[in-house]
Symmetry: C2
Subunit: 331 residues, 2 copies
Amino acid sequence: MKIINVILSGGVGSRLWPLSRKSKPKQYLPIFDGRTLFEKTVERNLHYCNSIIIVGNKENYQLSREKLEQLGITHYGEIIEACPRNTAAAIAFAAFSVSPEDLLLISPSDHLIENDHFYQDSILRGIDLAKNGFMVTFGLKPKNPETGFGYIESDGEEVLGFREKPDLKTAEFFFNSNNFLWNSGMFCFKAGIYLEELEKLHPEVYITSLLAFNSKSDGFLDLENSLKIPSISIDYAVMEKTKNIKVVKSEFQWSDMGSFESLYDYLSSIGHPIDENGNMVIGTDIHTEFVGLKNTILINSPDALLILQKSMAQEVKGVYNRIEITKPELI
Amino acid sequence: MKIINVILSGGVGSRLWPLSRKSKPKQYLPIFDGRTLFEKTVERNLHYCNSIIIVGNKENYQLSREKLEQLGITHYGEIIEACPRNTAAAIAFAAFSVSPEDLLLISPSDHLIENDHFYQDSILRGIDLAKNGFMVTFGLKPKNPETGFGYIESDGEEVLGFREKPDLKTAEFFFNSNNFLWNSGMFCFKAGIYLEELEKLHPEVYITSLLAFNSKSDGFLDLENSLKIPSISIDYAVMEKTKNIKVVKSEFQWSDMGSFESLYDYLSSIGHPIDENGNMVIGTDIHTEFVGLKNTILINSPDALLILQKSMAQEVKGVYNRIEITKPELI
């Protein structure tokens, strides 16, 4: 039995445009003390895993290859998606490629996590539960009444239910009640058990993923078969329905870096300059002055500038979607 | 008797930083349909004047020389100040350099004025009054209850008094009352009459200006003598006190381009792009998006960026003053 870190690196990070682009998603931006979230993920999980499988996409698989080579990692699995099909299928591809007894530790590649003793405790507990046949999810103790995340309702390690992104009032109730946890997007289970559950709970994803997987060539999935796979998350397809689930309540340092607001918080915490009104510049050393503005972020890239009121950081996805149509060369 | 346009071009335009710099004040920025306010001033007044005197400063006299050469103007007077001493002295220097009977049409070099029939009527009337020995000021019919300008209280061509920049309530009263005019900063009088009035009303400016003027060499004023001149405007030193004043009530198109708010209005009027929330980019063609911001201006220069809430445009002077001390290389 091996313990395999499945790194999901197909995301494009549209909420960090224009820093992140299709050709350079946020997990490949060297903005975390000069390192990328992808490499931090790889290095962190190597402490607990024997090997790695990258599930990437055809737009950016070279970036993960380059980074792994730089890290001196030459043996790893690689599955290159023809088109984004969400996490239920991405994880199925990894599961199809290994032995059913192998343990998969599923991790996004674009979250910022510190490998502290809380993380170690959580991962080791998750592996232990997965060895005993459970489908394990990792839930984080909320740091604030966040409305941008899904929650897991828990009772110890039992999962009572999944909750969609709440409104503020509900988020405050969750925050104060102590048994609602942020859904981290990390999972741990045996490959075979995941596939059994997927086949049972969402047979269409199972069978179409298997067909796409079997038609792959040199690690590259076939587009025609891939397009037949329903695009659905592992949460919806499996985790919310399975009876075989456990949650590990975790307190490690975690951020999904899902918006410029998260990035701003991280950069502030490591001493990136902010003026007296909370304004920040990202991406240039050119002297910048803000007048009459508060909590504004200038994001500077060679071919696009974004000036963002921090509290509106979620709107950047809308800009990305618009520009994808009107000026695709900037995406 | 000659009619001489005295062009005051010693200003640095700190409110348009970082577009304008000490080495390139706003009157030399080619941002008005590719032309500068300095050249537009020269060309406009050549219709009414026989010659030109430039009162510039040692930081930027080359810029006026270059521009006049480009315009094919080779004969003109030039006085180069060693340090800024305000308008009472600057105009005295010009007056000392000509015959007492010569008429001076005094104009700032950094205002945007259209040479329309209103302008022609006003200038011709001003010249007429000046020929008859009056000290003429030009007052503009207010377009809005502006708090950023001084006002002239008038009764026909009689001046009843000068008013400092008013608060909004007073500005609204001025705006509605029809006999308060914006002080344009333009004047017309005989050189000799100006000097007589200056000698009588502010003898210290008169005598120190004369000493500095007499010690000049090759058009360059002497620093030591110049520093002895009180720095005071023609309004305070002469116009507010003389009994010999007339005002020409004018309606020509005029903007002092005194802030990015004025520049924004001008650029809007000639079709410079603005997004649906009133945001504007000046100084770059790089694709720029504003999210969560309204009426914000990005001013882009190679070594400094300014992000400005338009309504706070007057605060840019404070930024300039601060940077002059902390980062003088950006000034």
